[in-house]
Symmetry: D2
Subunit: 341 residues, 4 copies
Amino acid sequence: MIKVGIVGVTGYTGAELIKLIINHPEAEVSAITSKTYQGQPISSIFPIFNNIIDKKCQGLDVDNISEQTDIVFLCLPHKISMEYAPQFIKNNIKVIDLSADYRFDNVNSYEKAYQKHSSKELLKQSIYGLSEIYELQIKNANIIGNPGCYPTSFLLPMIPLVKEKLIDSQFIISDSKSGVSGAGRAPSLATHFCETNESFRPYSVTNHRHTPEMEEKLSEHAKESIKITFVPHLLPITRGMMTTIYTNLRTNVTRTHIEEMFHNYYKEKYFIRLLPKEAFPDILSVKGTNFCDIGFHVDNESGRLIIVSAIDNLLKGAAGQAVQNMNIIFDLKEYLGLNKL
Amino acid sequence: MIKVGIVGVTGYTGAELIKLIINHPEAEVSAITSKTYQGQPISSIFPIFNNIIDKKCQGLDVDNISEQTDIVFLCLPHKISMEYAPQFIKNNIKVIDLSADYRFDNVNSYEKAYQKHSSKELLKQSIYGLSEIYELQIKNANIIGNPGCYPTSFLLPMIPLVKEKLIDSQFIISDSKSGVSGAGRAPSLATHFCETNESFRPYSVTNHRHTPEMEEKLSEHAKESIKITFVPHLLPITRGMMTTIYTNLRTNVTRTHIEEMFHNYYKEKYFIRLLPKEAFPDILSVKGTNFCDIGFHVDNESGRLIIVSAIDNLLKGAAGQAVQNMNIIFDLKEYLGLNKL
Amino acid sequence: MIKVGIVGVTGYTGAELIKLIINHPEAEVSAITSKTYQGQPISSIFPIFNNIIDKKCQGLDVDNISEQTDIVFLCLPHKISMEYAPQFIKNNIKVIDLSADYRFDNVNSYEKAYQKHSSKELLKQSIYGLSEIYELQIKNANIIGNPGCYPTSFLLPMIPLVKEKLIDSQFIISDSKSGVSGAGRAPSLATHFCETNESFRPYSVTNHRHTPEMEEKLSEHAKESIKITFVPHLLPITRGMMTTIYTNLRTNVTRTHIEEMFHNYYKEKYFIRLLPKEAFPDILSVKGTNFCDIGFHVDNESGRLIIVSAIDNLLKGAAGQAVQNMNIIFDLKEYLGLNKL
Amino acid sequence: MIKVGIVGVTGYTGAELIKLIINHPEAEVSAITSKTYQGQPISSIFPIFNNIIDKKCQGLDVDNISEQTDIVFLCLPHKISMEYAPQFIKNNIKVIDLSADYRFDNVNSYEKAYQKHSSKELLKQSIYGLSEIYELQIKNANIIGNPGCYPTSFLLPMIPLVKEKLIDSQFIISDSKSGVSGAGRAPSLATHFCETNESFRPYSVTNHRHTPEMEEKLSEHAKESIKITFVPHLLPITRGMMTTIYTNLRTNVTRTHIEEMFHNYYKEKYFIRLLPKEAFPDILSVKGTNFCDIGFHVDNESGRLIIVSAIDNLLKGAAGQAVQNMNIIFDLKEYLGLNKL
């Protein structure tokens, strides 16, 4: 059994990781940590865990946690992650980091969007954990920078399209919509029930910190510099994410090309579901799963391509993909513990 | 035009008062105050007021506000209200206090449920603002203790029943359900969207601070000491409140007696809507209104009486009833500014 | 007092019209009709109207209704509207039609998107009721084709932009999101609570029937043929609509040009609220109002313009704009009965 | 592997059963039937099943289904169930019926609440599937009448209380609140998103058909005839149920007696979670689980006992308990396939 540590367990991502690992036939939760709730049983924070798991939150003593684990999932805020990740790596513990600290290849992009990077050496070794795309590198990785939720929903359909030069890479618009759990569990006016319920709003218009993450990965696969227009919106739902992407086909590219390309890339990928012609995803059909559903429409008259993708932001957009990456690292079937409902 | 001051305007009750007063044909908003947002236009806090009202929040300088107003609505926390109310009264400004500070006749009950009372003299003069019941006293009041939302939904049907000795006053159970706006605008884990959405839970089981308020008023009308069982629950909706009350009829009391009694008490009361036989309220039908809808069922076999009442917690349960009381004080029709949708 | 008839009153638009007209200082509801609920009081269908209005639904006898009214709002399905509108016009009753039957200038566009048109003569006289744009023509109109909700949210920001040649008219993408009330009150799996709650989905991707309506109006103002890409989505909220539009600025057009242009067009328009720089609309701030809030962002690097508009789909997107049009026809201030909250 | 048939698979209970069986280590879905969707893959009805299960809906040919299965779950409407159950039993297939047809011991009670019973012989052999209470009988049953959702949430705490004579059995009030999925998947005005969202309402006040089911079981365990007062309400959530019960303790019964009694009855019952003192259930903590959470409060002054229980109406209230019963019948651990999140 793989011994799993979840560091910073008391947010929504930490809770999802617990749920996944207790469902996992080859892994078990061996340590959980929380600064705020140290010493308290996890079921006192999330009563759903009563009778299911009775672990207590420990403090974050790296050596102590390292002794109890084979791999740790870091559910820490940006900046805090890079304080601890190198210590776990030094102890030969595999690290899957769910913050942004190990996602970038270009440290300048990171520093522009976030803050000074204090773990540049380890950043160089880190592999971007978009499982379907980086599977081979993930197999041998010691540290994974688990992708952001928006980037996951955007990059899975877009990387093959730019790689195969099927679309006009200078014209990519991503209109995304996310459930409130993406904003975390800390109370704020923005997450107050009455301010979000029965409402809908854009935020961080064109300056969301996931934009450079998406642009870097897309550019690498396109082998050219790509800028995108990205507008996220807040949906009055707890979990789920939808991304509607608008772009133009290159000359002579048809619906059939797109279909075949997606089929070639993803037919063997368990967690990518290509929808039939003129079918589009809905959030209800991915909620609680690790799937990324993709549908698209080609407007022949205008040459426009519209792609819609949907994921559960807490699963394929965070904890689910993290477990998928753990499976790949430990040479397990990628869907182990994730292929049930 | 009645010049209205709203003190502590930036909560949900304050915002509702603005909406009501700008709809009111005989009143106008002449001053608004906020400690936190002093100097800021109200539309920067609630953008819905753009183009509608461009007042700025003032600091709470009682003499200054008194010069600008005929009446003030105090939307302040318990304890803070009783610091300011006496000063406004001294300046001959009418006060409608929406905190609990001026609701109790028995100061001990207040102090047991809240804290030490520092304005006992004024408390003696204060009238409980349950409009339909205390209309005559409200006419001549200088200060009103505006009722709590739960007490409003409970007392309107129950006061006549105990006064007329139609029910067993030792057996009264109130199962109430409130929307989240009742918890106020301050962010907390309890009001976080993801903790409330798709959930439902009881809270303050039998020890909610509205219980002594209900028991005091009920006892006064019954001319005997009455204890009730009260359990509030949190509904995943922004606004609205429903109270389901269970009691027993006294011997020989029938459905017809109840119907006639309610008809006698409330037939001329604009804001009480008695529903037809076997019809029951729903929150959708009172949301955005100042109505209290009441339906009931008599179970002949068991002699049990079930009463269901519904109100909008921010209107009849707070700001709406406060304006109704203002209308009564200024000798206007009680529904002025309140009888539209 | 203007005597108002509401034909087909038992849908969500009909109910909103009642609410608006009973708030209106210069108009009154003099007749309401329903085929299904003929003879029943409106309060038995919408209990919120108890004590507010006690009218009964009549059958649709045109001559009878004509005698009771100065103007009728037709809340009938497409196709049925054009059976009755000519009869009301013959009786010299003003008609505001909320179906699509009188919105198009080009009858072929209508017939392609809907069905054969059987009232072509009257269609020629009809004025498109986008109040801020067609105000002068509306003043003298006998019949108004009240705009669709999506077209209202889209055309208000876009017509000035194409008229002033500020954007690339061949590249216009509209990503819209609507509350469920837009789908009407008839039960279906698509409007079932459990199928919509906690979900989100696109529908009618690029083939929604509001597309030709938007394209026709935009083309007329641009004096060139314009095609747009339009994808509507269903939001899990009762009411409200947001439209996010992506386009490109023409060479040398700057943020300042856009600002000045919007200012010039709309500074005197009560119901258009231009938000300050980098502020964007949210649905909560327009719900229950007739406002259209507009915010925009210019991305200097890419020359892209992103516009976000928000309306209440049942008000500015239907009943509210219809009343605004009635005000214009009867030479009243356009905001009468609509400028309160 | 136990071969499972799900008859009438296209409602919410059917979909939950599929999810549970595909998670079950000792069972598999071997046949699914639907009258309406015969021949269609289940993933075309519920797209969440794409890549998960690709079974097609068969018609309901009993002999054919019997050959493919060891046990069938009947998710059919009342009355239809009793047409088919006897045929499966004749073929030696175990039957778990999720309708009301096999829940009653007293056929008159059934016929009064539902309709004429046409399978009285089999009814006599049927065991009521409240797993924790009837476990011994379930072990040897061929046919199970799976309990209603309201009865499950009510009877689990109440049966021990009446059996042990701890409460006044003539005074039992149950105020229940259910999510909308309990109303089924058929579209109706009552389940229309806009009629339920942001609302709350009671229905079937004292005449819900689950009342005789609760009274019969309670009376049997109390060995006296018990009548209860039961008022169900509709919550604006998809799934989850809470029941707040009010009763009186018998003389000299204390909180400690209640605690010990619950502990004795349920300490070994995996799916009953007794909450610590003054903790109460919330729906979020049982959603997606087969748990029944129970909390209670004793009001010493009045001698009143308040019990709050929460379940997921589709799991412990329907499909989950059905699988628990299957586990018991096949001599498996009762939580197999049900003890994960």
